[in-house]
Amino acid sequence: MKRFGYCLLIALAAAAWSAPLLAPHHPADQFSGLLNAPPTIIHVRDGQGHWRAPFIYPLVRVSQLEQRYEEDSSRPIPLRWFAGGRLVGAGDTGETPLLVLGADAYGRDVFSRLLFGARVSLGLSLVAAVAALCIGLALGGVAGYAGGAADELLMRTSEFMLILPATYVALVLRAMLPLVLPPDIVFWLLAIIFAVLGAPVVARGVRTIVRRERHQDYATAAVSLGASHTRVLVRHLLPATRGFLTVQLTILVPSFVMAEATLSYVGFGFPDPVASWGTMLHDASTIRAFADFPWQFAPAAAMFLLALGVNLAFETEAESTRRTLYN
């Protein structure tokens, strides 16, 4: 199970990394004749029952009102591989859209947007998580080492911040800034907000560890050898936090992915047409989509796989509950 979790995470990371190669289309490409089109089915057997190389039938709109599509079985189009810098495309010129996961309300390929959105969402979450770790490490380390007033201040402020509901704090902080911003600014802004939200927990943990380690023999030895405060802290005490920081990283990344999705869902995150998992869910959330176009909720499945992968891969032995005495 642990290995399955790691596989999931590696697969997600690889998919995000190789998005420009894997995605059949550019995330902003719109196919105006294929709004809300269902996924293109890849066939391997043709009308006569013969096996052929994978091919698709182009979709033809049957009813504009109902947005229903049907396959045009008269024109099988084979898939072409490794052409035009992409892994796979449809047809000899690659013009027929290959919509592996269907299209959204603007006629954009959901699968391509999912892959490119993974870059945005995962990238943002990683950056924010690392930033939260750095801030927490710095604040917690200093507070734990110095003790006294600095320590008290850290504990009181972090306690207060932890009582507040994170979503609302993120919302208010984001609302403080201009509501319409270019995507790269939004990226760094969200990264900063998330880092600030995630830092208190890290700081508290680091502070506790540093405080405990400060009185260990090796630290006393270093001090007696004449090491400066900085050296003792950085070289000797902070490495003890390594395990804690790793665990926190695995907790923060999925949380930040969810937070980005929440903010983008209500329009406070990335703007259109940026493809992030959150904006995709925002676009998909109409009553019609829930009923008729469920493929547009693919980002939800991706987020689930991320969280599942993390939970499987990093579930520690201490959390399993085999009780041999009572079986």
Binding site: L179, F297, M303
Partner: protein, 317 residues
């Protein structure tokens, strides 16, 4: 004991004050204000100036804050700029809806999570693995995902209403049943991940307790297994689980925001969001105060429960 209560109540008051003040200040610090948000670029400077002074938005921040504070202490939270109704009319109903959602979800989570956690810790084999597996799956679906998934199912199957709090068609079932039916999806969306978390916590804590020497001693003395688990094991595991409840108020509030958005449940979240977008200072402040009250009451209740339950905590205070 009374010193603990006094201290907690004082902290609760401070929390409400700090949060609502912060909301007022932050909304003022945001670029633009209600007048600019409403009328945008289409009006001349004099008209804009008139609009701003009509709403009292052209006074300096300190003055506006002081005016708001004086009124708020008298529990007059002003009029909403967007809805032109007293904030004290708009907020309580929404807060009640959110509280209904949050408390119901907490109940669901407790009723599902704690017993299953006990079962998982005391029975081995398939049952324990099954519970653990389901919990793992639910832990991987925070309220955002569960609400999307449940609304998806509701919309596809038509078994349950897919959103809102009440049906719009006249002549629907009696009002209470109607609301209950509409509550199923949001409460499940908020409560199921929480149930999984509580189940894991309970299972872990109970398992650790049952490893203690006193449990082995009790069994050796001839106490029945059932009695040992339900009397001694549970009481010892009560502490960490009850302590967790104190932290739940914030995550319930956070989670309810997402659930309200996705299932169109008319709670505090939507109100505050709209107010933030429109830079409606009074409504934002009122909403923030309401949220802070909810948080304060929640943490206060759980702190008192922990203090009552845990003799050591009481002695320490």
């Amino acid at each position: 004991m009374s010193a603990l209560v006094v201290r907690r109540v004082a902290f609760a008051l401070f929390l409400v004050f700090a949060v609502s003040s912060a909301a007022v200040v932050l909304t003022h610090l945001a670029p633009g204000d209600f007048a600019t948000a409403q009328f945008g670029q289409g009006v001349g400077p004099e008209a804009m100036q008139q609009a701003r002074s009509r709403y009292g938005l052209d006074k300096p921040l300190g003055v506006q804050y002081r005016d708001w504070l004086i009124q708020a202490i008298r529990l007059d939270f002003g009029r909403s700029l967007v809805y032109d109704r007293p904030v004290a009319e708009l907020v309580p109903e929404r807060l009640a809806n959110t509280a209904l959602l949050a408390v119901s979800a907490l109940l669901l989570a407790t009723v599902l999570g704690l017993p299953l956690g006990i079962v998982a810790a005391t029975r081995g084999g398939v049952v324990s693995h099954l519970i653990r597996g389901v919990s793992l799956l639910l832990l991987s679906t925070p309220p955002l995902l569960t609400s999307l998934f449940l609304v998806l199912i509701a919309a596809q199957t038509g078994w349950l209403p897919a959103g809102g709090m009440r049906s719009v068609t006249p002549g629907s079932a009696s009002s209470v049943t109607d609301v209950l039916l509409h509550m199923i999806v949001p409460v499940a969306a908020l409560g199921l991940p929480l149930a999984a978390m509580l189940e894991r916590l309970q299972a872990r804590t109970l398992a650790e307790v049952l490893e203690q020497p006193f449990v082995l001693a009790a069994l050796a003395r001839g106490a029945s297994r059932t009695r040992v688990i339900w009397r001694d094991g549970l009481r010892a595991s009560l502490g960490p689980v009850a302590a967790m409840y104190g932290l739940l108020a914030a995550s319930l509030l956070s989670g309810s925001f997402v659930v309200e958005m996705i299932t169109a449940w008319p709670g505090l979240g939507r109100l505050v969001l709209d107010a933030l977008m429109a830079r409606d200072v009074y409504l934002v402040a009122g909403g923030a105060t309401a949220g802070a009250v909810f948080l304060a009451v929640g943490t206060l209740c759980s702190d008192l429960a922990v203090a009552v339950g845990d003799q050591r905590a009481r002695d320490r205070q």
